[in-house]
Amino acid sequence: MYQPLWLTLKLALVTTLCLLLVGIPVAAGLARSRSKLKPFLEAIISLPLVLPPSVLGFYLLLAFSPQNGLGKMLDSVFNIRLVFSFAGLVISSVIYSLPFMVHPVQGGLEALPVSLREASQTLGKSNWQTFIKILLPNIKPALLTGIILTFAHTLGEFGLVLMIGGNIPGVTKVASIAIYDEVESLNFSTAHIYAAILLVVSFGILLTVYLINKRLNKSRITT
């Protein structure tokens, strides 16, 4: 009964953690970039916002499939199979939620006065020290928004999970899939429980973001 909920939570946590590692460098690169390719990169990263999850899921399914290039290589060289596995779910969730991490963090970095970075450089600090000690601590609201939105968005995934993971109990059957499953079997009461829990948790998460951001913004940063 609780297995799909636990799996959902695990997927959301792992995805958020991976996206912190992937999303922050991408956001930092975009915020500083003046390349002509920047709009193309931004468009690619934003695609999951507008594409039906089934489209992304379809292409990822093709890519991960052991019959095709990438999936074949992973299968034969590393013995890794991404379709219908938890690892596959994580990778597709990372791609699917990328804009939810990158956009707030990039926006936060771009809104910081350039003089903060320059002041740190003129004080002899490396770009890395500047990033870790000055830039990141001053975009806490943006980081928090990125983390929470990624987490909440992954909780609510359905189409993509269904395409990549299917419906394997304990492996890929997350709460949103379980609801669909229960409704199809006319188990409305179990579906009710899953649905209500997802609703309450999602609302709670969003409410927390807005409350914390309100507090952080109050005590914020006039240089």
């Binding site: 320059e118 740190s120 450089q121 003129t122 004080l123 601590p137 001053n138």
Partner: protein
């Protein structure tokens, strides 16, 4: 001795131009860069700091080459031992006053120095405050001493006092003066404010349209000659009609009867007032 010879394309209000500067700054000198907005003063400061790169040029500081485009040498800002004070202070909002200063301290540096600097500007009691809670003058004091933590070879001040009210401005000027007398740092100040330049600088470089138009002492550059038993004031016209002229000078407004000489004056003009020809009425 600091030698600067640089050329950089400028995007100015009146179209594109070139910043073309070739000058030297003597050790321990206090030089003001004066000129209209968009003349290239801040650009020059940023080039010296390594925050901007010129198309061509050489910068040598006490025998060390910071920039030589012909030899493809261009030290990043981190490798140039400078103190830079920004117009918007650029204090780190996530750190307290003391942490801002400690951050500037090189590895293994003496932490007592931070305390001494805080005492020097009288802000020991605010050491644990975040910058957001300080007044403009206090923020600029912190920014100033933060720039001094590394014992810079040159202190670069980008209109540091322009956002302050008159009182704060005056007391900061006094502090800059004291700091310069004590530490004898070679200092380059961007300023629009002639009284400030008179008070602080022993040399002025006047820049317009990217070119150095004049260099010399403030008195020479602003074309004034102190009269033997008189007084010369520098001010700005606040009001002018056919009867009277009102001038802001040193924080005071003075009123002078109009004369044929003053007919061409309009609001915003910079003027010098010689004691011999004027009758003054002090309004505040």
């Amino acid at each position: 001795m600091i030698r600067i010879s640089i050329q950089k394309k400028l995007h100015m209000a009146g179209g594109n131009g070139v910043l073309n500067v070739d000058t030297e700054l003597a050790d321990h000198s206090f030089t003001a860069l004066y000129g209209p907005s968009g003349a290239g003063k801040t650009t020059l400061l940023r080039i010296i700091a390594g925050l901007l790169q010129p198309e061509q040029g050489i910068i040598e500081v006490n025998g060390q080459t910071w920039l030589n485009t012909a030899k493809k040498i261009n030290l990043p800002p981190q490798k140039r031992n400078i103190g830079f004070v920004f117009q918007d202070y650029a204090l780190f909002p996530n750190m307290t006053v003391e942490e801002n200063l400690l951050y500037a301290l090189p590895k293994g540096g003496d932490k007592n120095k931070v305390q001494l600097l805080l005492e020097m500007i009288g802000l020991q009691n605010l050491a644990h405050q975040k910058p957001a809670l300080l007044s403009g003058g206090q923020k600029q004091r912190v920014a100033l001493v933060r720039a001094l933590v590394r014992n810079p070879e040159i202190l670069l001040l980008d209109e540091p006092l322009s956002a302050l009210d008159n009182d704060a401005r005056n007391s900061l000027q006094n502090e800059l003066q004291t700091i310069h007398q004590q530490l004898k740092l070679t200092t380059l100040l961007v300023s629009h404010h002639i009284p400030e330049i008179y008070k602080l600088a022993n040399k002025v470089i006047k820049i317009d349209q990217g070119e150095i138009k004049q260099k010399g002492t403030p008195t020479n550059v602003f074309g004034l000659h102190q009269q033997a038993n008189g007084l010369t004031l520098i001010g700005e016209v606040l009001y002018a009609d056919s009867n009277r002229i009102e001038i802001l000078t040193e924080g005071n407004i003075i009123q002078i009867p109009a004369s044929p000489q003053t007919r061409s004056l309009s609001v915003g003009d910079k003027v010098s007032i010689h004691a011999a020809d004027l009758s003054l009425q002090k309004l505040s």
